[in-house]
Subunit: 337 residues, 2 copies
Amino acid sequence: MPATLREVAERAGVSVRTVSNVVNDFPQVAPETRARVQRALDELGYQPNAVARTLRRGRSGLIALVLPELDVPYFAELTRAVIEQAAAAGYTVVVDQTDGDPVRERELVMRGNRAAMFDGLIFNPLALGGADLRDRPSSTPVVLLGERVVQGGLDHIMIDNVGAAEVATRHLVELGRRRIAAIGDQSDESRRTGRLRTEGYQAALNAAGLEPLPELIRPTTYFHRADGAAAMADLLALPDPPDAVFCYNDLLALGALRTILSHGLRVPEDIALVGFDDIEDGRYSTPSLTTISPNKTQIAQHAVELLLRRLDGDTSPPAELPADYELIVRESTTGKH
Amino acid sequence: MPATLREVAERAGVSVRTVSNVVNDFPQVAPETRARVQRALDELGYQPNAVARTLRRGRSGLIALVLPELDVPYFAELTRAVIEQAAAAGYTVVVDQTDGDPVRERELVMRGNRAAMFDGLIFNPLALGGADLRDRPSSTPVVLLGERVVQGGLDHIMIDNVGAAEVATRHLVELGRRRIAAIGDQSDESRRTGRLRTEGYQAALNAAGLEPLPELIRPTTYFHRADGAAAMADLLALPDPPDAVFCYNDLLALGALRTILSHGLRVPEDIALVGFDDIEDGRYSTPSLTTISPNKTQIAQHAVELLLRRLDGDTSPPAELPADYELIVRESTTGKH
DNA sequence: CGCGGGGCTTGCAACGTTGCAAGTGGTGCT
DNA sequence: AGCACCACTTGCAACGTTGCAAGCCCCGCG
């Protein structure tokens, strides 16, 4: 139903090629011709066919952002940042959600530019590791986010998880807390985030001369509110409950907070709480959440820049870019102010 | 770099067409030929070119979900539901975010299937109204979500906002509250949600013999936590503050909750709170949030079904499908249990 | 031995666009 | 008058795929 170049050409009495020249603003078109063609374009409501254009040009102007879960605020907020960065460069971002399903992740990433119509991929894997990604048949550029992959031979952006976890834990130590628990450890080989943060947590305890106690390190399957709530209930059931908890993300912390408050305990007086991610929810909870804030804008910016450079043909060796983070102190550790 | 049908054909010593037949599992291929071609396919790691395929077939298998904001939990949760429904039908969903910017909305929706490469659109407009959408040049099917559009001549799914708001307000009335405020009214002609919910709110008050007081109806620019927090601060500054608040979405309610608690007041003892959307955050706040829960799965299901029917050539008149909702009573109105 | 038919394979064209290089007609210069 | 050149326009081919219909070969039957 929509008009094609040929139909416009017939109406304007010129060749298809000339219409194309007008559409693409080529300079070498006589003003009069241009006007006539433009009129025909308008009358027919011509819109270029993006699929044909992409086939011909080899570029779609689309980059895909592949994330485990969109209803996790951290990813939703990151998405906004990526969209903004990409828009500035004239690219449109489409988002896809994998649920951390290895099958879906593989599908999306391995197929690459042929099966999909994206010029590049920004991918935060949950299930897929370095080995899986090493020999992609596709040549679509990919930038990885997150901790999952170590040496996949792909561009990669991550924050220093060990360092950040250490900062968070040290903050609790400096407040005088001694029984500091951790929620979010993951024994699962494929989930690296939890292990790295546990490492930082333990390092901080050791540096303070505190001994990491196994019963205070609670593993969780996911990083959702429900997991935090359940883990916190376990901690409260201990004979000697903790006086502080470092949660490996803000959702865990919010779940834990809910459990603590519903047990009639106070935060931070009885138990201090630190989260990770700095999602908006944590700024509006009561008490508001002390947290590690990864620089999401910077992550997005690096990711898009790196990807666009690859699209421009840059073949330098894969980069491993660190992103900044900072500790944001709020009520859940220092109380009202 | 990736292999094409022709390269595979040369390697296998058959025609391009035969390779295509194998790739598409056509029955009329001799087993031996099929095996030989398959080997060549595997050796070259062939992946069909989705762009070429789409151009030829006229279908991409992609539907776009166009939303105002992804970092608003309601939309993130809705997205999950849409993705699930579409996946069941073999479609892939890509998500795009407009920020409610009329320019971006128009771009995405008016251009339709030519500028983009999507078979259909599920669109929740914020800025664009019926008039804007009526004469789209494109023939891509569109299903609208939300309250914004009334008679755009397009398929449309929404819940009964007036009725839902009435139910929420009546719940507060039945708890014995008398000074019931509302947060989220919008005078802006283009934002219809707020006006509809105010209508239901007033209807419930009238039915209970209570007079709606202008100073208890607080408009907000957006539906974010910050707006709720600010509006609640205004309400608390009144000489005679409310004893209950109906917030037009859960984020507003969470912002309001934060303000109430930080003023040393209790929920629900001093002020009862009802939200709208039933986002996960509200289940884990303290107190948990009483809210109107729109059936998101049903909305997604209707949207995808309707869209797919249009893609199959259904030309029946535009449908206006209602979606269910229910009041979920939690602690913010009835206290701990 | 010739012919019809079935199983399998193929060539051609087209989806709508753009790169390339050639083509057209007119103008100005010698 | 002839030629070169310029401004502008055009045809051809190709991106990689698939629908269509024709083609090939071999088998079995008369």
